[in-house]
Amino acid sequence: MRMYDLPDPGGHFGPYGGVFVAETLIHALDELRSAYARYQKDPEFLAEFAADLKHYVGRPSPVYHAKRWSAHFGGAQVYLKREDLNHTGAHKINNVIGQALLARRMGKPRVIAETGAGMHGVAAATIAARFGMQCVVYMGSEDIRRQAQNVYRMKLLGATVVPVESGSKTLKDALNEAMRDWVTNIENTFYIIGTVAGPHPYPMMVRDFQSVIGREAREQMPELAGRQPDAILACVGGGSNAMGIFYPYIADEKVRLVGVEAAGHGLESGKHAATLCTGKPGVLHGNRTYLLQDENGQIIETHSVSAGLDYPGVGPEHAWLKDSGRAEYVAVTDEDALQAFNDLCRLEGIMPALESAHALAYAAKMAPRMKTDNILLVNLSGRGDKDMHTVAEKTGIKL
């Protein structure tokens, strides 16, 4: 096993990561960094986090052997890490609990969040309700239209959802707006970023909170399958579910790590969100990473059937894992993701989130070419109830 101790103290993963923000935000980030440095090893903090993951979220999430789906391929055995069974229906809640516990210790009564598909916003609204915190969620007006049900969920939980009308009116613009709120309300506000992006310490901190996924899997796989998997697959938008399951396996080089991006209508169509597959390094949202940008350095609009993958950047640690060759990144189209969505519904009785369906779709490409004693582990990062409207629309059905 190889030593892996990134990021460095400045938040760098090789040339990626760092702190690329205006001076006005530096103090808030310093405060956050020192609070996290203090509590990440604090037994009381960690015990409270673990207890919440167990009793509120319902962890550990099971690993499930998808036998019928595997038989359908006639190749590798596919196992699913069931993050869809978490409270609120996705992996997002793991990180939100960690950050909300930190917010409480820092004495911040107000939390803000950005959201794309709405899962992170729902998780933030959920924890704010439980902790009695004020919660404001920024969401692109285009995403609000696509994810009406999650918007209503957030409102029922007591959060204020603010539509963002600037730029492309999607996740990246919601993140810009949340940053603007934070810099204006630094004294009383904690910004809960939902993915492994943003300025240091966010990529590291979100990874740490999400890495419970991979730690559990390392224990569960030998029990269930007799050994660790040959490859782990996870979808990558910002990349938090993927970092969560990859991180505890990085040093274990026998295990292939495969990040699956959204190829939308196809990489050649230009309508996709495959940042690592086709992007170039640059600076956005406080960190250096791969970006989808034009030749003038303007960020371009992305497309994916899944709002959660519709992001022109990616967590800086993924950029590093790509360049170092430790992880490989691929992309699957909307169409392939929808096929995997349907297959998992019909063959296993599990309705995956469209985001997670991208990872499933790539497993469906790998598995038939592998031997029956090969093992794939797919991070099933969320459940698909929120996507029923989108899927119905795509198949020409009106609900």
């Binding site: 702190v19 001076e23 006005t24 808030a28 810099v183 204006t184 640059g282 350095g297 303007q298 960020i299």
Partner: protein, 276 residues
């Protein structure tokens, strides 16, 4: 001596304060930018901060966001912005121009190529909003090598250790952001700014410009007592936004002129008091 240093030295000798307008290049359209720049000088601008439009202006409020979107809709790129600088410089040899923008368009061009292009265009320095000192050392080296100034931001929450670091890296002037928040936000606390200016001067000899929240002659004049220059951005862009398309430069001039007068009135009194 750089054009920026020369401008501040001349002002100091005259007991005057710098008037530093910020506009987004290419807003409302590329054809008017040069005319607006000249009009600003005519109204008494001492340094021009020329904004490079960016798709994701995270540190800016709605006014500058909209100006950026207007420019981008017309395809204005960093290359175009440097073209504006060159065209302005062809007829104005003295007014310093600072290229003001976010990191990504600059990195897409390449930091060295950017610095060469600024130099070739007759620009005088750069302020990269999302390059704090930790990430700006390379830029400073590259601009230094070409005799260009790297301008840095300071905020009300910048601690002393950072002030020291920024004072070392900063060239030309330091830009104190007088508010917590984004550009164009509410009013500023004058006493607070005055105290901060005094404190910052313990760390640096560089001139101090103040921006964020200065809307008119009165607020500019009140601030000028404690600093070396005032930056007017959002209020000016709002004026540009609401002016008729064929009259943008003149509207910008009319908006800035009273601010210049107010600044000079105050400074002239002080200069007299000092000599008398």
């Amino acid at each position: 001596m750089s054009r920026i240093a020369a401008a501040f030295e001349a002002l100091r000798n005259q007991g005057r304060k710098a008037l530093i307008p910020f506009i987004t290049a290419g807003d409302p359209d590329p054809a008017t930018t040069i005319a607006v720049m000249h009009a600003l000088v005519e109204a008494g601008a001492d340094v021009i901060e020329l904004g490079v439009p960016f798709s994701d202006p995270m540190a800016d409020g709605p006014v500058i966001q909209r100006s950026s979107e207007r420019a981008l809709r017309q395809g204005v790129s960093l290359k175009d912005v440097l073209g504006f600088v060159a065209e302005f410089r062809a007829t104005d040899k003295t007014t310093p121009v600072v290229v003001f923008g976010y990191a990504n368009p600059i990195e897409a061009m390449g930091v060295e190529r950017f610095a060469d292009a600024v130099k070739a265009a007759g620009g005088d320095g750069a302020l990269v909003v999302d390059y704090p000192p930790e990430e700006a050392r390379h830029l400073v080296e590259v601009l230094d090598a070409r005799g260009l100034d790297t301008i840095f931001l300071l905020s009300p929450t910048t601690r002393d250790a950072r002030l020291k670091e920024i004072a070392q890296l900063g060239r030309g002037y330091l830009y104190y952001v007088s508010l917590k928040g984004v550009t164009g936000a509410a009013n500023i606390d004058l006493a607070d700014v005055g105290a901060r200016m005094q404190h910052i001067r313990k760390f640096t000899q560089l001139p101090l410009g103040v921006g964020f929240g200065i809307r008119d002659a009165a607020s500019a004049k009140a601030l000028a007592a404690s600093c070396d220059g005032v930056v007017i951005g959002s209020a000016l862009i709002q004026e540009i936004e609401k002016s008729p398309r064929d009259d943008v430069a003149e509207c910008a001039r009319r908006f800035m002129a009273p601010i210049r007068e107010a600044l000079d009135g105050r400074s002239a009194d002080k200069a007299r008091a000092r000599t008398g």
